[in-house]
Each structure stands twice: as structure tokens, then as C-alpha cells.
């Protein structure tokens, strides 16, 4: 008879992904980039990319141990239209987390979502 043992490494508490810390970082980036800005067809594509990169880099600075990070940013023009966003994850609830933050002013909204996936 043979047995298989799987020892799963649980994230060490000091370097565990901290949702509140990540959320504050995201809030800071969004406010810095978008405060006072108006939706602009020419600039929004580069804003979305820059914000995604900036959030990812900020989260990398926290040096969460063995976490892969995915940041998704959506910027839309506010013209009274309806928008809905949903997400579903197939992962390990003990270790993987997601955080999201939405910034809006009178001309645009921006939702940034960060997913942190633990790599065994």
C-alpha cells in the first residue's frame, strides 16, 4: 500500500498578503493619478495601463512572500449608463485573496482589483 503526503506551505504571517494594506495603496495610486481629471478618449488608454502597472509595482514593494499578483483596472466615462462587474475565482481560499477599490468623480469612474495568488 502506498500513501501520498502533501505538505502545503501556509503563508508566513509577516509576509502574508494584507488586504487592508493593499487597499490603501490602491486608493493612494488612484487618487494621485485621477484626482481632478476628466474622461479623455486619448488619454484613458494610457491611464488604465499606467495605473495597473503602478498598483502592481506598489504591491510588489510590500514583498508578500510567494504571492503572484494580478491587477485589473477598468476606467469608464460617466454618462448615466449602467455598468456591472463580477468576478469568480477558482483557488485556495486559505491563502488567496482579492481587494478592490473604486474611485469616481463627476466625469469618470475607475475600479482597480488586485488578486493575490499563493504559489506553493
Amino acid at each position: 500500500q502506498s500513501f501520498s503526503f502533501f505538505i502545503v506551505n501556509v503563508p508566513v504571517s509577516q509576509r502574508r498578503f494584507k488586504p487592508m494594506q493593499a487597499r490603501e495603496a490602491m486608493e493612494a495610486v488612484l487618487k494621485e493619478k485621477l484626482q481632478g481629471q476628466q474622461y479623455s478618449v486619448e488619454q484613458v488608454p494610457s491611464w488604465t495601463r499606467d495605473i495597473a502597472d503602478a498598483v502592481k509595482n506598489k504591491l510588489k514593494e510590500f514583498e508578500y512572500d510567494r504571492y503572484k499578483i494580478i491587477v485589473q483596472v477598468v476606467i469608464g466615462e460617466l454618462r448615466g449608463e449602467g455598468v456591472k462587474m463580477a468576478c469568480r475565482c477558482f483557488w485556495d481560499e486559505n491563502s488567496d485573496k482579492h481587494v478592490s477599490f473604486t474611485f469616481s468623480n463627476d466625469s469618470l469612474f475607475c475600479t482597480a482589483t488586485a488578486f493575490a495568488v499563493y504559489h506553493y
Binding site: 474622461y39 499578483i69 494580478i70 485589473q72 469608464g76 460617466l78 455598468v83 463580477a86 477558482f90
Partner: protein, 110 residues
């Protein structure tokens, strides 16, 4: 590091499967504020089930944005810190007469 194509994220088959799911949920529907929650949830749920059915050693994140077509603009971008030899993503955009749907799948290897 060996690049093992068996273990890598294959975007094409996933794109086809996601597009089928979005088309089947939205088909000829007209944007309806009361139903849009149900549509987004159903799309991400059905996509996740199909992905799990592929039985590959991946964790998946599926997101879906549905926006009413009123002439307003929308943009999405993603930035990832992962292993690009094994992890990947697929984006599918479906336009109907009354709405835009953007579905994204991120696959992270175990």
C-alpha cells in the same frame, strides 16, 4: 527552466469557450438593469465551471464587465506579476446592440 507546453496556459481554446458562454447568456438580450447582475454572475460562473472541467493544474480568476451602450467610453488594462512561462490570460469582448461585455480569464499555474 524547461518550457513545458502541456503545463502552460493556452489562451485560444479558452477564448472560444468564453465567447460561447457570453453569447449563450446574452444572445439577443437588451440591456436590463435588473438582469445585468444575474448575467455577469452567470457568465463568470459558467466560465469557471468550464475551466475547471479542463482539469488542468491551474487556479483561475474570471472577471466580467457589462456596460450599457450609451456612447460612453470604457477601457480595461491588467498588469501581472507572475511566471510568464506557465501563467497567462485571455480576454474576450462581445458587443451586442445594447451592451458591451468584456470577459477576462487569468490562469495561474499551481
Amino acid at each position: 527552466m524547461d518550457v513545458d507546453t502541456e503545463g502552460a496556459f493556452v489562451a485560444d481554446e479558452i477564448k472560444t469557450s468564453v465567447k460561447e458562454t457570453v453569447d449563450s447568456v446574452l444572445h439577443d438580450a437588451v440591456y436590463d438593469h435588473d438582469k445585468v447582475s444575474q448575467w455577469t454572475n452567470q457568465i463568470v460562473e459558467d466560465c469557471t465551471k468550464k475551466l475547471v472541467g479542463l482539469q488542468k493544474p491551474f487556479k483561475y480568476i474570471v472577471t466580467c464587465v457589462i456596460m450599457q451602450r450609451t456612447g460612453a467610453g470604457i477601457h480595461t488594462a491588467a498588469s501581472c506579476f507572475w511566471d510568464s512561462s506557465s501563467d497567462g490570460y485571455a480576454v474576450v469582448r462581445v458587443d451586442t446592440k445594447s451592451m458591451y461585455a468584456i470577459a477576462t480569464v487569468f490562469g495561474v499555474a499551481l
